[in-house]
Each structure stands twice: as structure tokens, then as C-alpha cells.
Amino acid sequence: MKDQKEAIIEVRHLSKSFGGVKALNDVSFDVPEGEVLGIIGPNGSGKTTLVNTITGFVKPESGEVFFRNIRLTGLPPYKIADLGVSRTFQVARPFLSLKSFKNLIVPLWSPRARRFAGSRGGDRDTVAIDLLEEVGFERDAFVPYKFASALPLGYLKRLELARCLALRPEVIICDEVFSGLSMSEIASILPLIEKLKMKGVTLIMIEHRLRELFAVADNIIVLNFGEKLAEGKPEQVMRDEKVRRAYLGEEIKL
């Protein structure tokens, strides 16, 4: 079944070290088109470095990443985003001095968004407010016009997602969208993730919240000390002895 779907992202033998620390060590995997891949692992296992190398923010020492057979490695971040691989940041990075909807003017101004907008690319403000509504902002005369610096974390994370969506990406890489959110805030973002999946967008989700992740993910990759520890269906991965050990530590024998 799995092999029939074509891989949209191929990661091949990625390695990256910071000083003496091997953040990534020969990591390879495929992401089939339209699927949700979850990446989990303990703190410091190289998850964010993996995102940064795929999206061009960090140059790997060896290995390559392909998107639809286009080599992403070596391209600058804006070109990768332009091709349709979009990311969110773990620590939300909004434009604090701008109003919420003006935050989206930046991605909407990008060449990729303008290609989609075609000739009627004139009214970006309306498109921006529509996008905010799509990610769950209230459509009133108040919230979209608030400065991003005045928004609570839950809205900032949604703003991050909206910034990705403005580019109409084919692949979205979410770096811990759920972290720091309350249960109700997570509950309001989950339907959005499911909606994206229905639309056929490929998602790579890095998460610590396993319960929420397993509800949406098709496949899971476990990273530990920069190495791929396990790969497979969520339930399969959770039964894996190595994974349990990485998360819970060795059993103490008395």
C-alpha cells in the first residue's frame, strides 16, 4: 500500500553536528504525498535541527533532501518556501510591531503567493483576514486588528500556521504547534490539521504531545541523539522496546 504513493519528501543520510554534538546522524526517511508524518523524540534529539536542515535554515554536513525530485539541500530558505515547503517555528515568530492581519501581508506579498493570486492580487488585506478566519481567528472588528504583540500564545501559534497557509504550501512542517497550549487551545487547532490533511497537504509534525499527534499521524519516526530509532505506525512504534527505553530510561535491576 505504502509504496504506491509517491514520496514527496525524501531525506537521505542527513548528518549535522554542532561542535562535538551530533545533532543528526545519518537520518533517512520518505514522506509519502498527502500523509501526516509525526516526528517524536526526547529533548535534544535533533528534531528542530531536522526541520532547519530540510527548510534550508541550517546547512547539513552531508546528506540530501529532495522535494518532488528537486534537491533542496543547498537552496536558501526563501527558495525552499517558494517551491512549496513551508514551516512554522517552535517559538512563534510573529511580526510584533504589525497588526495580526498585516502579519500575513508579508507571505502574501511573496512571489509564490502572488503567482496564485494571479491578476487579482490587489486586495491582500481581505485575503489576510479570510486566512485568519480559516485558522480560527474571530472575524470581527477587533481581533484581526490587534497588534501581534498583544495576542496570547494560542493565537500566535495559529498566526504561524496562517503564515504557512498564505503560501499555499504542498508540504507543511510544524515545529511543535501544540507546545505551551492549553487543552482547549489544542482542541481548536486539531480540526485545522485534519482539514489540511483532507485537502491533501502533506504534513510533518514535530510534537511532544503524543496523544494528539497519534490521533492525526499516519506514520511516526522516533529520533534519539540524532539517530533514527524507530519508524512505523503509531501503535507499532509505541510498542517498540527501544523507544520505551529512550523515553523512560533503562529498567533498574535490583
Binding site: F57, N103, W109, S110, Y145
Partner: protein
């Protein structure tokens, strides 16, 4: 003990959120237009009421500094590129205009546009490699350029070396130069404010806020920075070309550090990010420094005192403070 806090109430326009107005009456229209109109009328009337040629020439000089301050403010506060290369823009602009007039006898109507465009190209091209640098590093590199060019001109005895090119054709009369520079100041203020309100201005502001997020939005930030740098250089090089003709002379003194430092003081004094504020700052600081001409090098102390004073006691600057006072009433209320 009784605690009090400052309450701020909006006034003037009933229906508004920040930056968006619904104008309902003539009174409100006038309320909005008055500050802009007073700036325009004030600048246009000012030359007529000045006591003599000396102060008129000071005003022209203030206009040159005002253009530099606007250019600095635009880059530093609206794009996040702290460019302390005002002297380089002035130098490049003036040397192009001056030598075109001195060697080839081209008229002013031709030398100034050529120097403005050509100078902006040269500045942008030379600063291009430094654009990936951020914050203080970009500032340091741009700050070094005037010294570098100064030394090359002196060492290579280019453009008549230390003596400079003289005479360069002057403007026919003082009125033309005054109104040319003041009109350019107004055009620079209003067109840059307009630009910052457009979508590209939002993107520029985004670069200042968070360049990584702009990169992740699929925008080549270096290219956008080039646009901004070119626009700012246009303003600076125009000021330089103008100064060459105004002083009738082109020399290495045009690379003086004053042209780089003064805009910073004017910007901080006038209100960073307002574009009109730095221009006002320059219009105040230049005459002040002329008054202190008798003290020679001590004039630099004035800039430093202004900088320190405003940074410590009024970091928002004059215009931001005035805007707040204009739009809001303040009163102390009991908590």
C-alpha cells in the same frame, strides 16, 4: 497612600482604531489635515521670514541634513538596516555632480539627476556585500566607507586630491536652492510615509521585526533590502549633488564624519520612525550648531549631549511625543 495613574483619552475623531479613521465632519477632517498642512506651510514660509542671507544658507544646509536624517531613519527604523554612511552618500553624489560639471560643463539640470541615480547605484552596489550583515556590523562597515574613499582620493590624488574641484556652478539664486531642497524634503517625507504604508513597506517592517520569518515566507530578504538601500541612497546622493552645486566646490571635506553622525542625533531627537521627526530634528540641530560655531570642535559635544539627553529622558523623540499629545488628553486619576 493614594495612588494615581495617568489616564489617556483619545480626542478629535470619534470613530477610530489605531491608524483607521471614519471621518464624519469637517472638524475631524481639519483635525487630521492640520499637522500635515502646518508642516508643508511652515517649511514653505520659513525662508521668507528669515532675517538674511546667512540664515537662509543655514536653512539650506539644514535641508541637506534633513534629507540625510530621513534616509537614515527610513533604513534604521523601517527596514532595520542601521546605515551610518551618510557621508559616503553625500561624497559620492557630490563628486559625481561636481566632476560632471567641472570637467564636462554639464548643466545643473543634468548633473543632479545623473548624480542622484548614479550615486545610488554606486552606494547600493558597494554596500551589497554587507547586506547579509545585521545590526552593528552593517553600521560599522558603512561607517568605514567615507574614510576609505577619503584616503583613496587623497593618496591617489584623484579629482584634484586635497584641493578639490572648484568652481562648480552655483544655483542662479538662493531662492531656487532653498525651495529645491525644501521641496525635496517634503517629497521624501510624504513619499516614504506612503511607501511604508504599502504592502512592500509592511514587508520591510517585517524584516526589521523578524528576518527569519520573512525568509520562511518565501521572500528573498537581500533583494528587498537592496530596494530599500537604493531608495535611501537616492535621497542621500541627491543631497550630495545638491551640496556640490550649492557650495560651488567639491572636496574631501564632503566625506566629513558630520554627515554620518548628525542624522543619528537628528533622528533620535526628532522621533525615530516618524520620518518627519528626523527632518525637524535636523532643522533644529543645524542652526543650533551654527550658533555654536565659535566653539569650534566643541560642536560635536552638542550632538553628544542631545543624543544622551534624549536617549535618557525622552527616548520617544519630539514628534512621537507631540503626536501623543495631539491625539490624546492626559489626566491623573485615582486608582
Amino acid at each position: 497612600m493614594e495612588e494615581r495613574r495617568k489616564e489617556r483619552l483619545d480626542r478629535g475623531i470619534k470613530a477610530r482604531t489605531d491608524g483607521l479613521y471614519a471621518i464624519q465632519s469637517w472638524r475631524e477632517t481639519i483635525y487630521l489635515i492640520a499637522p500635515r498642512a502646518s508642516l508643508i506651510i511652515g517649511l514653505l514660509v520659513l525662508p521668507l521670514i528669515l532675517p538674511g542671507l546667512y540664515w537662509q544658507r543655514v536653512l539650506v544646509l539644514a535641508g541637506v541634513y534633513a534629507l540625510l536624517a530621513i534616509s537614515f531613519d527610513f533604513l534604521a527604523e523601517r527596514v532595520g538596516l542601521v546605515c551610518i554612511g551618510g557621508a559616503f552618500m553625500i561624497g559620492v553624489g557630490s563628486y559625481i555632480a561636481g566632476s560632471l560639471n567641472y570637467y564636462f560643463g554639464l548643466p545643473i539640470a543634468l548633473t543632479i539627476p545623473v548624480a542622484t541615480l548614479g550615486g545610488a547605484f554606486i552606494c547600493t552596489l558597494l554596500w551589497l556585500p554587507c547586506l547579509p550583515l545585521r545590526g552593528i556590523y552593517f553600521a560599522v562597515v558603512t561607517f568605514m566607507f567615507p574614510f576609505l574613499t577619503h584616503s583613496i582620493i587623497v593618496a591617489g590624488d584623484l579629482f584634484a586630491g586635497t584641493e578639490g574641484l572648484s568652481p562648480v556652478k552655483d544655483f542662479p539664486n538662493i531662492w531656487i536652492s532653498i525651495y529645491l531642497i525644501l521641496t525635496m524634503v517634503l517629497i521624501a517625507i510624504f513619499s516614504l510615509r506612503r511607501l511604508c504604508g504599502e504592502d512592500i513597506g509592511v514587508v520591510l517592517g517585517g524584516i526589521k521585526d523578524n528576518d527569519q520569518a520573512v525568509l520562511a515566507s518565501g521572500i528573498n530578504i537581500t533583494r528587498v533590502k537592496i530596494y530599500a538601500l537604493f531608495i535611501a541612497s537616492l535621497i542621500g546622493c541627491f543631497a550630495g549633488a545638491f551640496l556640490a552645486h550649492f557650495s560651488g566646490f567639491v572636496g574631501v571635506s564632503l566625506f566629513a564624519v558630520d554627515f554620518s553622525i548628525m542624522p543619528i542625533a537628528a533622528c533620535i531627537m526628532g522621533g525615530p520612525g516618524t520620518l518627519a521627526g528626523p527632518a525637524l530634528g535636523a532643522l533644529i540641530l543645524t542652526p543650533l550648531s551654527e550658533l555654536l560655531r565659535g566653539f569650534g570642535q566643541l560642536r560635536v559635544v552638542l550632538y553628544c549631549l542631545v543624543l544622551i539627553g534624549f536617549i535618557l529622558f525622552k527616548p520617544e523623540g519630539l514628534l512621537n511625543w507631540a503626536t501623543r499629545k495631539y491625539h490624546q488628553t492626559e489626566r491623573w486619576v485615582k486608582v
